[in-house]
Amino acid sequence: MLVSLKWLSEYVNVPQDLQAFCDRLDLTGTGVEGVEHVGDAFANIVTARIVSKQKHPDSDHMWVCLVDVGQNNTDDSGNPQPLQIVCGAQNFNEGDHIVCALVGAELPGDIKIKKSKLRGVVSMGMNCSERELGLGNNHDGIMILPQDAPVGVPFAEYMGKSDTVLDLEITPNRPDCLSICGMAREVGAMYSTDWKNPLPDAASKIVIEGEAPANAVTVSIEDAKRCPRYTARLIKGVKIGPSPDWMVERLAAIGQRSINNIVDVTNYILFLYGQPLHAFDCAKLADANGDVNVVVRAAKEGEKLTTLDGQERTLTSDMTVIATPSAGAVALAGVMGGLSSEVTDNTVDIFLEAATFEAGRTSRTSRNLGLISESSMRYERGVDDHEMIERSAAAAALMVEVAGGSVVPLGKGGCGYIDEWPQVSQPKNLKFRMQRFKEFVGADIPQDFAVDALRRLGCAVENSTDDVLDVVSPTFRPDLEREIDLYEEVLRLWGMDRVAPTLPASAKRVGMRTKSQEISAKVNEVLRASGMNETMTYSFAEPGDMARLRLPEDALGMAVQLLNPLNSDQSIMRQTILPGLMRSLSYNLSRGVHNVQLYEIGTVFSTSEGRKKPKERTKVVGVMAGAMGNKSWNVEYASFDFFDGKGVLESIAYELALPKVRFRALDCESAPYLQPGRAAEMLSGGNVVGWVGEIHPLVCKEFDIDTVVVAFELDMNALEKSTQSARPYVDVPAFPPIEVDQNFVVGEDVTHEKLVQVMNSAGGKLLEDVRLFDVYRDDERVGVGKKSMAYTLTYRAADRTLTSEEVERAHERLVNKVVGATGGEVRG
């Protein structure tokens, strides 16, 4: 909200030190988001007086003047010195008071005043015309001020144009601060100083005169909850026209454009007192017989209303309208008036509404229509239903002042207003336990301070006992409804900075991470140790992402749809992290970064019919492309392939002590995004925990990637279920091993896993380790469709040194079994 300090200072003393004032506002809860100096346009322009005027020696129309600018130009000892200024105007005399732009001033039209020479004579400024000052079109000569105008005063200050406007952030709990008066009260509380409420004087100016209307004027409220109070006045015989300058200026200072004198009054009162008003053209409300029967009712489902902004709105029954029997809806209660009953140049009689409307409903209406107004913003936060007659009186009196006409007798006994008030809000009686407050804050705040602060905020405070204050909170502070609300008020005015920092005294706590966090930390460590770099991608996804992965749309469950996505590319929640990482990979490749190792641990989402909240699962996904690094003088990295990804998963499995880990080939059916033959799922204890493979070339193409991409995914939940806290300890060997290298030539269909299985079962207790050290294929030497698998077999006994005979026996048995089980053969 914009607040003019000039306006504000009419009701409360505003400190001179602007910075300190803004800091105090900030610290007490009113954020200062901007400061604008309105008089800045008149910087270096001052009031002045012509001391002397002589003909320019070299010109027949210019004058060389000495101009008194007061303290704006002084000699070394500080005495005012007139400035020599050359001037071409003819309309002034010695002794005239004028406006002088000093060196450094900037005038409208980008004119910078500099020290200059005009036909050889030095000129130290400029005497200004109204047009030069941007104040009008008068350029007949320089602006002549009255003889009593002071000399040497900033022109903005002299003209009353100097103002500072603060842009204040009013939090949603403070509807009272959405007005100049409310801010005056707040500033009074901030500085323990009194403020002057202009309302009683303004309201007392009202004169009820003239004749009561011949026709009936009635107001009826159908639902008190929707409209707790509705008041109306009738101002007859107004003349619509421009507003007086003072009002235009005040509204302009807070960013409001002047419309006409009647509408401006409603705005002026709204900003001054926080009371939204609406002025109807009374003639447009009248029924055929001339009666005005205003009804506040629920809108009909589908009812239409064209609001003041010219838009036709379709209403729902949740909304409230002001209506008449003949015209139907004429205003959207609390949000905006209707176009048909708008005040126009031809309006003569004003029906002035001052009311309160239900906060939550106003908020909903506003949001449903996407229509936020100064009124709706106040109604949704809460407008005080008390003193409404006074505020309406102030408005009506001001209308008569600026637009003529008279406030005619109306209502009970011709009191001048109709007042329907079916639901009266009550001030709240609250306790304030002083000792508890001090303990809660942890500071020794004096009772006198608390009492004074609460009173200045508008509360009535009585001391019932030494410790407990009886506080009555005012109706304009709907946020003060509990004791804690009062604590906040006293604390913020006392100053949060004055409370000493402490730490909680209790020792009943221990810091802990959850199991899943610990596992996540371990996975992170292994991935980083494996050279993978953690990244983050959007949780949003493109609906086409599943197709990009060659997956049916429902392969990973039903996607979670956003009702209000930012764009169609991000209209659902991701069901897999892979597309996001593929995009990041593509991003890197397109920028010349060819070695990419990325991973993300994040949430994926899916839902199903009948579900409220979607299912969330945590996945760890990695992608690798290029190699671990560039070729270096002493290292050369192999290009990534399937086994780099598998190696990462094996390291994770080792670190998490996953039991019974094995990999099973994945076919195109179950993993269409992977290249068949280079794709596997990882199992632990028979349960699938993830997959690894090279991304299918067709999928790579979808992401504009033209290189081998190795990817893997693990399900964190599955890892958490499988992980073991520790592997059992195995004795460090005390006796030496005997290693035997052995090759087997087997068919391509015989897997390494199969060979190891057979060797392990055949090797018995003595076989400690099987390590594959070579895979060799050669159509001639090994044979077509065959491969030579070379293993180092480690034999060892835990309790003795093995003899070579023992090992030979065991090894022979092993070789025979392998050959028998695989149809392979041994070659030298």
């Binding site: 610290l27 939090t171 949603p172 949740d318 906060a359 908020s363 909903r364 949001r367 449903n368 303990e439 804050v441 500071a443 509990r482 804690i484 604590y487 913020r492 949060m496 920092p501 730490l503 909680p504 005294a505 209790s506 706590r509 810091g511 802990m512 991470r513 959850t514 966090q517 992170n524 980083r528 050279g531 953690e534 990244t535 991608t537 959007y538 949780s539 949003f540 749809q561 956003l562 009702l563 209000n564 929640m573 990482l581 990979l585 890197n588 970064v593 990325l598 994040g602 949430t603 989402f605 199903s608 009948g610 579900r611 409220k612 909240k613 979607p614 969330e616 671990m628 270096s632 003088w633």
Partner: protein, 353 residues
């Protein structure tokens, strides 16, 4: 006697050969020639049988003396040559130690998680547990249970992503829903108060969503770290002390904090916390827009309504809560110029942290 002279000569010749041996290999050749199986000196020992019986002792003694002298000389020479050869090897082995090392590629932690780790460690040290919560929440946990009931204006402070509710329920406002992407980690507070025994000392880091178009200073998804304490006798001073400690741990002990009164629906009193600007030390500069302060988090004492809704008696217990923007810390501490970099996955960015 000739034999003795022979021996002496052999000894002399051998000693000089030993002395002249310039490599260990030369020396070994000399040793083998004299002391080896068919070495010259060995020959004398082998031929002892041919020596006259009465001379045998004397000859034997002489041979042994010669052998001992030779062996000693060889050992001495070997020691010298070994040192020389090692020196030569060392000299030849010198490398340009400015050549790059053979290091492993170590991966990097994402900056945001690095900060979350850092803050988690601070609070683990203070005895807090680290919790998590779901990213898709119901309206109840994101707003209502946090004292922002339906149609409360505080809801408009945050622009919310709504999710299609598959349960068939419909929301009061068109285009909205009971199910949403959480706009704050504060829902974790409610879950904790409902599920955990008292007292509670916890933080809950996590991803949150708001409907902001991505630009250098906004992202539609970002991270918060929620903190919650509920215990007997918790004071506003405790909140100040805790957050002051956190800020000093993160930004440095020379930094100051400032508490500005503010409004959040779920805390009362509420405050925003600023940390003194590290660039200008509070003097005012471009970084802090001339204020000397940088806004860092929101906090407050847990509102009694929030405690009550979770079944905790606010007359007995009090508490505080706070929410820190992790991206905000990233910007302030690491000068990340454009938040979108956090989601691009550019290796050249990621590997800096």
């Amino acid at each position: 006697m000739a034999l003795k002279d022979e021996l002496r000569k052999l000894e002399q010749d051998t000693l000089s050969s030993v002395e002249n041996a310039s490599t260990l290999q030369d020396l070994e050749t000399v040793r083998v020639a004299v002391l080896g199986k068919s070495g010259s000196l060995t020959g004398y020992l082998r031929n002892m049988g041919n020596v006259a019986k009465e001379e045998r002792a004397e000859v034997g003694k002489a041979v042994n003396a010669a052998r001992q002298a030779v062996e000693e000389a060889i050992d001495a020479r070997r020691a010298v040559l070994e040192v020389a050869e090692m020196d030569a090897r060392i000299e030849a082995g010198a490398v340009d130690i400015t050549l790059p090392g053979r290091s492993q590629q170590i991966g990097s932690r994402h900056l945001i998680n690095r900060i979350i780790d850092e803050v988690s460690d601070i609070f683990l040290g203070l005895g807090y547990t680290v919790g998590v919560g779901p990213e898709v929440e119901t309206d109840y946990y994101n707003f209502t249970a946090l004292n922002a009931p339906a149609d409360h204006p505080s809801r408009s402070m945050q622009d919310t992503f709504y999710v299609r509710d598959m349960s068939g329920d419909s929301a009061a406002v068109r285009g909205e829903s009971d199910v949403l992407l959480r706009t704050q980690t504060s829902g974790a507070q409610v879950h904790a108060m409902e599920d955990k025994p008292l007292p509670i000392y916890m933080i809950a880091p996590g991803k949150v969503y708001r409907r902001d178009v991505a630009d250098p200073s906004h992202l539609p998804q970002f991270h918060q770290i929620e903190g919650l304490v509920v215990d007997k006798g918790i004071t506003f001073g405790d909140l100040k002390g805790t957050l002051d400690h956190m800020c000093k741990q993160i930004f440095g002990s020379n930094r100051k904090t400032r508490f500005r009164a503010h409004y959040f629906p779920f805390t009362e009193p509420s405050a925003e916390v600023d940390v003194s600007c590290g660039v200008c030390a509070g003097e005012g500069c471009r970084m802090c827009k001339g204020t000397g302060w940088l806004e860092i988090l929101g906090c407050g004492m847990v509102d009694p309504n929030v405690l009550q809704m979770s079944g905790i008696d606010p007359e007995i217990y009090s508490g505080f809560a706070f929410g820190v923007g992790v991206e905000r810390i990233a910007c302030l501490k690491y000068n990340v110029p454009d938040l979108r970099m956090l989601l691009e996955g550019d290796m050249r960015f990621l590997r800096q942290f």
